[in-house]
């Protein structure tokens, strides 16, 4: 999927967001084990490297030396900022890979596995019908003890054309379809985060919880098909609901300032959902 022009990857040198802090606590829990001498971390859709801000305060130099960091994002100014950030952290190894997120598994060295994969604040920017492939490739790239940490918001402000934000329940149903289709009995535990202006959600998927030995490649097509079907259903339902709300607004017009903002939000959603389903206006 081409990058979203409205997207504005958050970057504040002085502030570590709570979702990034959560990811770092998970990372810390692995690194503090004296038996762990090295871990591979893939920071997928790393943006400007916001997760790395203040990382040196969260993880000691000793722990950072155990990290082999791979940042991945589209080739633009954002990833250059992330590179600068990562290079100053004293990681055992640091590399930046560039390309579309949907292509990440083709860009990375074949067979390379990761102990920790983060995908934060990015799911809404991924084309919904590319999401199954990306999610599958993420879990397929996990080492036997690896963990995939995902965090995203259920609505966006400022609005972004083409972005589709998922609720916690929707994310749960997508991930359940994915795990079920690869033959895992694991149920995704999706946590909800109450923020002031939106709700967030997170999930951690541990490869060791899947109950599947060996690699998953041969299950890719079935998994992508089943997950795509689930996503299509969700998109169609969201589209129907959005159209219905816009019809109501078209009939009566907005009656308050808030409703004017609602109209803008709904029209953005309408465009994004139609675009996701390959429909033209």
């Amino acid at each position: 999927m081409p990058s979203i022009a409205d997207s504005d990857a958050y970057f504040s040198p002085g502030r570590l967001l709570s979702q990034h802090q959560a990811a770092l606590v998970l990372l810390q829990s692995v690194l503090i084990d004296p038996r762990v001498v090295s871990i591979e971390w893939l920071d997928l859709a790393c943006g400007r490297g916001q997760i790395l801000v203040n990382l040196d305060k969260n993880l000691s130099a000793h722990l950072r030396q155990k990290v082999r960091y791979t940042g991945y994002d589209i080739d633009n100014e954002l990833s250059r900022t992330a590179t600068r950030c990562a290079e100053g952290m004293g990681f055992a190894n640091c590399e930046m890979r560039v390309g579309e997120v949907s292509q990440f598994s083709d860009v990375l060295p074949p067979g390379k596995e990761f102990d920790f994969i983060t995908l934060t604040n990015a799911v809404h920017e991924l084309a919904p019908l590319e999401l199954p492939g990306i999610l599958f490739d993420c879990i397929n790239r996990l080492s036997p003890t690896g963990c995939l940490f995902i965090y995203d918001m259920d609505r966006l402000w400022p609005l972004e054309l083409r972005a589709v934000a998922w609720t916690a329940a929707e994310a749960s149903s997508i991930l359940a379809a994915l795990l079920g289709s690869v033959g895992s009995g694991a149920r995704p535990e999706v946590g909800e985060w109450k923020h002031q202006h939106c709700n967030g959600w997170n999930v951690q998927l541990h490869r060791s919880h899947f109950g599947i030995e060996g690699r998953l490649e041969e299950r890719r097509n079935a998994a992508v098909d089943a997950t795509t079907q689930q996503i299509r259903q969700l998109l169609s339902h969201k589209l129907k609901q959005t159209k219905s709300a816009i019809d109501s607004l078209a009939r009566f017009g907005p009656q308050s300032k808030e409703e004017e903002a609602d109209r803008e939000m709904l029209l953005h959603n309408l465009y994004s959902l139609m675009d996701a389903l390959g429909m033209t206006l």
């Binding site: 709300a245 019809d247 109501s248 009566f252 009656q255 308050s256 808030e258 409703e259």
Partner: protein, 283 residues
């Protein structure tokens, strides 16, 4: 009993003190002050609760054009439907045009303005504060009283509104098991109809009587509630729903019904249970 909130600026403190002295010398048992000394000790401090609990708000502006803080307090009080009056020191005070329609008293050396101000305060209809709230025989009686008095409705706390609606459902039928939801969830009250085995989720939108609950709120409700297997969702507001919100709810395949307070208590008590059973989705 009329409760008065006194707001003052630093420069107006002498006039406020004159006013309080006058009241001490001429006691009026039907006047009660929510803020007296604390306001004088820290002029300009904004007391949201105090304004909410007052029947009358008297703004002592002093001799300067009112500051933005004073104007904020005035707007807040007017928005809540309070009776508002100003006291200025002298004829030369510049008052914003929009405020000139409110009663204004000019503090002078004689006591005429004080008598007039007290008369104004006593003439305001008392809305009675929570401490003075009369006992109602039923939640229905209280809700009917609230419907008739938007000022009282605006003062009602969210938890009290929750409690009243829950009690109202209980009063309407002994077949209903009603629980105010304490957890942080999307709904406020859960009702189980013991006979039909149906579950009703109630969501309350406590806003001022003049405010709208728009389509965005209802869209969010529908999005959230599709994940719960409720037989009926009832959203009740102390304000008003926009036409778009009502239209959207009515066209939704989900069993969602919107009521403003008047509509809710207009459901005939004799038909209350049957009405909600009919609205719930069939099992």
């Amino acid at each position: 009993m009329n409760k008065v909130f006194v707001s003052c600026t630093k420069k107006s403190v002498p006039s406020v003190q004159a006013f309080l002295r006058y009241l001490a010398e001429h006691p009026h048992h039907d006047i009660d002050f929510i803020v007296t000394d604390s306001s004088l000790l820290s002029p300009g401090s904004f007391r949201q609760d105090s304004i909410q609990g007052a029947d009358v708000v008297v703004m002592f502006i002093g001799s300067d054009e009112p500051s933005s803080n004073v104007i904020y307090e005035i707007g807040f009080a007017i928005g809540l439907g309070k009776r508002v009056a100003f006291v200025v020191d002298g004829n030369e005070v510049r008052i914003p045009f929009a405020m000139t329609t409110f009663p204004m008293f000019i503090a002078k050396s004689d006591s005429g303005w004080l008598e007039e101000l007290v008369k104004f305060i006593r003439s305001a209809p008392s809305t009675q504060t929570p401490g003075d709230r009369p006992e109602f025989a039923s939640a229905r009686d209280e809700l009917v009283a609230l419907r008739e008095t938007p000022e009282l409705l605006n003062q009602l706390s969210r938890s009290r509104f929750e409690e009243l609606i829950a009690r109202y459902f209980e009063e309407m039928s002994s077949d209903l098991t009603v629980r105010v939801v304490q957890e942080l969830t999307e709904f406020d009250i859960l009702i189980n109809d013991d006979e039909s085995k149906k579950t009703i989720a109630v969501i309350l939108k406590k806003v001022t009587a003049q405010s709208y609950v728009g389509i965005g709120d209802i869209f969010e409700l529908v999005t959230v509630f599709q994940n719960f297997n409720m037989d009926l969702m009832v959203c009740i507001t102390t304000g008003r729903f926009t036409d778009s919100a009502i239209d959207f709810a009515n066209s939704s395949p989900m069993p969602l019904r919107l009521f403003n307070l008047n509509e809710f208590i207009s459901i005939p008590p004799g038909n209350f249970l049957r009405y909600f059973r009919e609205q719930a989705k069939p099992h």
